[in-house]
Symmetry: C2
Subunit: 366 residues, 2 copies
DNA sequence: TTATGCCATGGAACCGGTTCCGAATTGGGA
DNA sequence: TCCCAATTCGGAACCGGTTCCATGGCATAA
């Protein structure tokens, strides 16, 4: 009975060289003569030999994989970041191990298994706050950690200034003359330390104060992160009668959709009866013509993953901490007039099987 | 200098037992006396010992990881399936290695690295057709392969009948009295073998034929998978004047959004001037009140991943091949009944059940 | 010719768990 | 008291690459 699996030893024997030489060929060492190299390569080809990842991992001491901790993966904003991360890692030849975290217990479980068993060479955390003690442990083990949409001192991270963003959004509404501006946000304590909604709320308060407006906490409501929940909360605000808000800042576009729904339900015209602004600039806000605060989601993932790649190559992540910029995207839900047309149409051309996009579309894959 | 890493040997020496015993404790063998077990556990605790994954992988011959091949991850329908897959794998203690595939070259690259290097124990393919020769290779290597939103003979898979779905959607429009029904779909050749759009088109043709309607290929258009592209294609159909379609079946909700946009642009009322139905029942279609064909996206991921877990446990995936059911979700974009209407988004619109509140909200995380 | 040095190479030791075989201990029954 | 079986345990061999050291060959310099 012949040995079933073809190992480096099989190749070495077959090619009449030592195992060391085969390994050197595998790793592209220049310590091998051209003649020997090609002989070994031929043998590998002939035997259909493939190196076993786990064996290599063991002796090299690294896995060539990166763990990605993701908070509530189904959220569109989180998804967009994840896409960026995965693409960069993939290009760098690193495996992306995705770990979905929906509660504190899951976070702990994933962190233990990932960190302690050294399943990955580095960890990227998306929109998730890693507990203090875990960070120190990760540091002690010398495992690179990059934060995306989050920030901790002395750690490489890519983040935005949510307070400033909340401020910008609220100022936008104030600048349109609104005085009774409501706020719809996420619940405070999710156990995952996602603070963006609260930070945006802080910015909201700042803007009110700067405008000399006393905040009315009756116009502030928090709930689960879904448009249905936001609709319910908003509905309650609208029932305040003459004390109802004339404008609402929703801490994310998903919530803003709920606000719009509630307005429809109450027969309120947008933006005349109630102006609305969201946050994130998701595709939905463009489709529904909802004003929002743009933040570079995909880019945050790309930049974060790039930092990780640098760190794993032993380089220093160039801008150690990177703040991405925000800007208000005014649309029909706050401005009276519909400024730009919701749909920009592309030129089309006749094709054999109907119509094909001529330009501006997604690139055609072969 | 003491050895830095704490291995099983360190623990064994410290606890005064053999390495075999420590390993047995690690793996929960019942061949260890209670006294010894607790002594070893104490020592492990004291030394803060953690087993190294890659070492275990090497000797056990498995990685406890599953590769997930994903076609164009940013598509909402694909995302939803992915979420289901990740959750199930995570519960089973398996790593989810996500591989985004956007073109044929990437598919080949990922398949090679994943399969040949045995980086994973099994492969789940989402909305992606694996080339024939790869399938045979995977089979030969005895690596479990599960298809989600795809189907091949003799392979475990979870799929829908896209032809039937297209038929249902088109029939729905026909039943409303439409005779000139257009079709907006994806480009035929993406190199990734995603055939759902074409299958739905086949269903569309079937429905027309069953109704005794000669298909008008001027009403059929294909392009990249984006609402902008769909809007452009639809726009061209609307410019056919009196020959324009009175109803359109878009092969996905994303495309249906584009159809709606184009209608707005041309000042056409929906559904009066043009009825629309999409496919997938994404959240957006519910928000925009677009009729659609519902398919269980999350469920497909869950079921697919469950099959994988079974296979890795040496069991047989119970229903080897599983077809999930479809149903038409009639909404305002096709029914005459006026409900929340996208074209009147910011107008006053009364809806019979326009708002669903106070139920079905996201569960609070502790 | 001999000394010096570089290059290519073979192969043992090693990475850190797992597994299996054989040995030691224990307990029960005759 | 002795024997046999069951239980528990130690440790060598092994998984399949990587690395480092020793070696032999060849060319160049002395």
């Amino acid at each position: 009975m012949r040995k079933r699996t073809i190992s480096i030893a099989t190749v070495a024997a077959e090619a009449g060289v030592g195992v060391g030489t085969v390994s050197r060929v595998l790793n592209g060492s220049n310590q091998v003569s051209e003649a020997t190299r090609s002989r070994v390569l031929n043998t590998m080809e002939r035997l259909d030999y493939r190196p076993l990842r786990s064996a290599s991992s063991l002796s090299k001491g690294r896995t060539d994989a990166v763990g990605i901790l993701v908070s509530v993966i189904s959220r569109p904003s989180v998804m967009a970041r994840l896409v960026g991360v995965i693409d960069v890692l993939s290009d760098a030849g690193l495996d992306a191990v995705v770990l979905n975290v929906e509660n504190r217990a899951q976070l702990d479980r994933h962190l233990s298994s990932i960190i302690d068993q050294r399943r990955v060479d580095g960890i990227i955390s998306i929109s998730l706050r890693i507990p203090e003690e875990r960070v120190t442990r990760i540091r002690k083990l010398d495992i690179p950690l990059v934060l995306v949409d989050n920030s901790l001192p002395n750690l490489p991270c890519v983040y935005i200034d949510d307070v400033a963003g909340g401020n910008m959004a609220t100022k936008h509404l104030l600048s349109l003359g609104h005085r009774r501006v409501g706020f719809i946000g996420d619940n405070k304590h999710t156990g995952l330390g996602m603070s963006s909604s609260e930070d945006r709320y802080a910015g909201y308060l700042m803007a009110l104060e700067a405008a000399g407006i006393e905040p009315d906490f009756d116009l502030v409501a928090r709930g689960p992160h879904s448009s249905e929940a936001a609709a319910a909360l908003t509905s309650a605000l609208f029932e305040l009668g003459k004390h109802r808000p004339t404008a609402i800042f929703a801490s994310s576009d998903t919530l803003a959709v709920g606000v719009i729904k509630a307005a429809q339900h109450h027969g309120l015209k947008i933006p005349d009866d109630c102006a609305v602004i969201g946050f994130d600039n998701l595709e939905i806000s463009s489709i529904l013509d909802i004003s929002t605060v743009n933040q570079p989601l995909l880019e945050s993932g790309i930049k974060g993953a790039s930092k990780m790649v640098s760190l794993l190559n032993g380089e220093i992540a160039k801008p150690h901490r990177e703040e991405l910029s925000l800007d208000v995207v005014p649309r029909g839900s706050s401005l009276g007039i519909q400024r730009n047309h919701p749909t920009k149409l592309y030129g089309v051309v006749e094709g054999p099987n109907g119509l094909q996009i001529l330009q501006g579309g997604e690139e055609l894959v072969s």
